[in-house]
Point group: D5
Chain length 117, copies 10
Amino acid sequence: MTIETFPNPEPTRPYTITHVNPEFNSVCPKTGLPDFGTITLRYIPADTCIELKSLKYYYLAFRNEGIFYEAVTNKILDDLVAACNPKEMHVKSEWSTRGGIHSIIEVSWRADEQKSA
Amino acid sequence: MTIETFPNPEPTRPYTITHVNPEFNSVCPKTGLPDFGTITLRYIPADTCIELKSLKYYYLAFRNEGIFYEAVTNKILDDLVAACNPKEMHVKSEWSTRGGIHSIIEVSWRADEQKSA
Amino acid sequence: MTIETFPNPEPTRPYTITHVNPEFNSVCPKTGLPDFGTITLRYIPADTCIELKSLKYYYLAFRNEGIFYEAVTNKILDDLVAACNPKEMHVKSEWSTRGGIHSIIEVSWRADEQKSA
Amino acid sequence: MTIETFPNPEPTRPYTITHVNPEFNSVCPKTGLPDFGTITLRYIPADTCIELKSLKYYYLAFRNEGIFYEAVTNKILDDLVAACNPKEMHVKSEWSTRGGIHSIIEVSWRADEQKSA
Amino acid sequence: MTIETFPNPEPTRPYTITHVNPEFNSVCPKTGLPDFGTITLRYIPADTCIELKSLKYYYLAFRNEGIFYEAVTNKILDDLVAACNPKEMHVKSEWSTRGGIHSIIEVSWRADEQKSA
Amino acid sequence: MTIETFPNPEPTRPYTITHVNPEFNSVCPKTGLPDFGTITLRYIPADTCIELKSLKYYYLAFRNEGIFYEAVTNKILDDLVAACNPKEMHVKSEWSTRGGIHSIIEVSWRADEQKSA
Amino acid sequence: MTIETFPNPEPTRPYTITHVNPEFNSVCPKTGLPDFGTITLRYIPADTCIELKSLKYYYLAFRNEGIFYEAVTNKILDDLVAACNPKEMHVKSEWSTRGGIHSIIEVSWRADEQKSA
Amino acid sequence: MTIETFPNPEPTRPYTITHVNPEFNSVCPKTGLPDFGTITLRYIPADTCIELKSLKYYYLAFRNEGIFYEAVTNKILDDLVAACNPKEMHVKSEWSTRGGIHSIIEVSWRADEQKSA
Amino acid sequence: MTIETFPNPEPTRPYTITHVNPEFNSVCPKTGLPDFGTITLRYIPADTCIELKSLKYYYLAFRNEGIFYEAVTNKILDDLVAACNPKEMHVKSEWSTRGGIHSIIEVSWRADEQKSA
Amino acid sequence: MTIETFPNPEPTRPYTITHVNPEFNSVCPKTGLPDFGTITLRYIPADTCIELKSLKYYYLAFRNEGIFYEAVTNKILDDLVAACNPKEMHVKSEWSTRGGIHSIIEVSWRADEQKSA
């Protein structure tokens, strides 16, 4: 699944882009049942921005994939960082109730922390 | 489109003015369909304040303009900074759902960062 | 897909059972994209009640089926009436936004109207 | 478990008493896990009213009892009708999400329907 | 405690007056602790309307009175019917949580039902 | 204060028009202090509809007028019925808290009840 | 603007279809400024259902049309009744605040009332 | 208009007092129409606290005064600082929608900033 | 009125305890009328924790006491600090509307600030 | 009660996992009555993550245990820190109303604070 990008119209000014997808689906590897989540992507673009329609198709590709909450949230961050090489990115996934408990996973990435590491 | 201003009644005291417009319209350059957004403008005035009626007409001028979320939010910031030369300005645009995803763009500008740059 | 039932513990007293499923998925026959809906089932049982776990698996079977809002709502009513032969049944489906519009379909069935027809 | 009553202070005037208990617990007979519900009792008293503290202890007695949603709701109605012999009684139970679905059971009883039956 | 009234400005037209008091206090006769309630009074005036300030003082007189939910709601109805002789009156009392349960009492009175009785 | 009207574009079909004004002001005749209310006007037009701008100015004329809740609600109904001669009209006024109590007045008028009277 | 339809999958059973469009735009004939509304269409189909995408384009055609609230709501009803010939149809338009007042127009049509007229 | 004060019962301990007035009225200098606002005053008292009833009458004095949002918010701050000489004061005014836009003005004052200036 | 305490089960680990009482009553010293408030107590315990039932009775003792908002909030802080000698304590009181204005008082205390003073 | 864990899929990147359980039950040691709480667990995993199903059974084990709010919240933190050895953990318990008061306990733990101690 290719994530398309387009040139950032303001590459010198840091600003924040947030895309909220309340219709995310993956599959629980244990039960084989679908998991319903809301994915909130927030990032500061560098040279490129993520194209919205290809982001939607990227998310759709998880619909039948068996993967845990923690893993899928980190994978989305990794894939989207690789796709657009931002200054900073945060991914939050919020999941509907399973066994009476609902879960939230939050992952962050900053370009300057990578460079200094 | 001229944005009118009036003299700040308290130019020596930093304070915050917020104008929320839940009726913003522009056009998606890809589909030609209207995009519906809420624009929240927040700024600390210097010598002049933005006149509310001319702000409204400024926003109306985007109604049939084909422009992406990221570009229009940055353009509003640039135009309004140029119009009133504030100490600080923030523009947030929140957009209604497209393809199951809704988006938020947030841009900031500070006079003292410009001077030091 | 078999829908299991169990004997109504109070078959002589009319009472109402409601099951709300906010995690329904089917596929739009035009675009091939998933549709997200909430299905509210309300019925007055006669001799049997619908077993909750088999209801869940019944709903899951629509996850990859291409079917319109109007058709799927009527089909759920038909299938569930056939499964438990109730005194009365109502099915409401509420769908997330597509093209800026969100839709609700409501279908009802009453045993006594069938007999008089 | 005895449900205590006290004399209705206005036995000639029909009026409505509602007691809402958002802390009801019983046990699912299939899984052995606790079910969490809200019980809304609404009735028109005849000669006696249900004493609130004994109602609370009556509900507590279900805490470790294995019983289905439909059965427990009907049993509460039967027990409370027997305890206070009202003109009319309604019991609604609303249950927290299990397997992605949440359920509501509503049962009614009217003294005049009993007499005419 | 006298409840003052004033002449109904529109005695020939039936219309509805509602006064909501979210600051009602009485005392539980069993525990001696204060009960907190919201009293909603709704009536169709005949020749006189209830004066708002004297209504407030009427409610205040219950502040240290030991009285059950059911009794106080009926007493308020009786007192206010006697004070303004309306075409129709409804009193609803909603009480804050005691022992995990919260209660609502609703009483109605209609002049034409009295006459025909 | 003249209330302007315009010809009903659909005089043969009964339909409902609602105008909600959350910025109504009048003055309490007892205290001389302003009362803040929301006026909801709902009517079925006959030959004419109420023009929105003149309705706004009509409401503004009460801003410094000393008048009780009950009287002003009935007066608005009378004035607007006289202005547009509707098939049916309802006026509801909801008032902010005074002395811990908030009030709602609801008045209705139907052309056919007038004729039969 | 043609409104497309498709055959009702259940033409013998009366059921209800609701489409909510919170992104309606027309233009005020007096001021030339855009009006923002939410259109709620609810109907019982006879032989045909309204196709959702063509409904969206139908609504879009009002975007630059100068027309009053009352007229546009009645026109939508007339156009959609003509397009799908339903058993029953209701159109509600809710408009954002103008001059401190917000308005709601509700229009209904029933096939059986037409025939008897 | 004199704003009365009373001695701070805890002059040595910094603490925060907030008074929210959702019934503020002034007049737009351009249109002559009333503006409706909510004024939130928050301050840390020094030797004196603002008396609540005189604050109410102070606000009432703006009811017929023509003054812009920015000016009135700064004036309230100046007047109240002069009246009670606090350690710190914040005034926020939130205004109802005009021309589709609603506005918020926030002004702050700190005694220690004054002294160091 | 004695406020009872019990030994802190985790005296070495700083953690936060919050008790919210939405049923606080005192009396306005000016009007003699009851004031209704919500008291939010938040503290970090040192060696002892406040016992919940005795806290309730402590609050009840204010029910007929004439005392201003500012004074009662500071007095509660002083009394509870004296009772349990915490690391840190905050008291917030929120009051229902009087004369169209509602008020909030917030007071804080930190053990380490006392020692350094 | 054993709490199972699984290897953290991203052990080098700090990220946050939150599990909210609104169905927690323990028993009040004083009254023997059940307490109803919501437990919010938030942690930054190190090498292992807490398995969701075993977490659920761990919580269930408190259902008949007599333990105070403060003690149970600290015990959950201790047990879960021991089970997964995280970088950081927070436990918040929110309890339903008892005696008119509702309580919240918040406890935190950080691995780096332990090491430096």
